[in-house]
Subunit: 77 residues, 2 copies
């Protein structure tokens, strides 16, 4: 089955990459953007018969997210 | 208002980063993962009174996505 994992910075954690994107958009003349924060997205194919929620939680805790500064969300589609 | 933009590789485009993550998960003993594709996520704050959909479409076309190899999706929250 398919699942989607999103990893985002916790609020309060500085995001220089997002700031750079915001500046670049302003430089390109794209008006009306007040803030950008960048995260990561993983589209994952999980084998049938596996507990997707538990497997992906383990994958996030051990590899995909740095839980000190990042939150993650698992959605089984 | 808040919006979320996701940028993913088009199907058929190789994703070596996703393959590396898949291999790393296998190496860590996380079983049951058949495939990983990595994308990008942008959480964007759009000023009030701005056409968020149109502004973000322009941002994607001009900066956030490489439309030759990537698809993007805009969700106004």
């Amino acid at each position: 089955m398919k699942a989607r994992v999103t990893v985002t910075l916790k609020s309060g954690v500085l995001d220089p990459q997002g700031k750079a994107i915001e500046g670049a958009l302003r430089g390109l003349g794209v008006a009306g953007i007040d803030g950008v924060r960048q995260g990561k997205l993983f589209e994952i194919e999980v084998a049938d018969g596996v507990d997707a929620e538990a497997t992906l939680k383990e994958a996030c805790e051990r590899l995909l997210a740095n839980t000190v500064v990042e939150n993650y969300r698992v959605e089984v589609l």
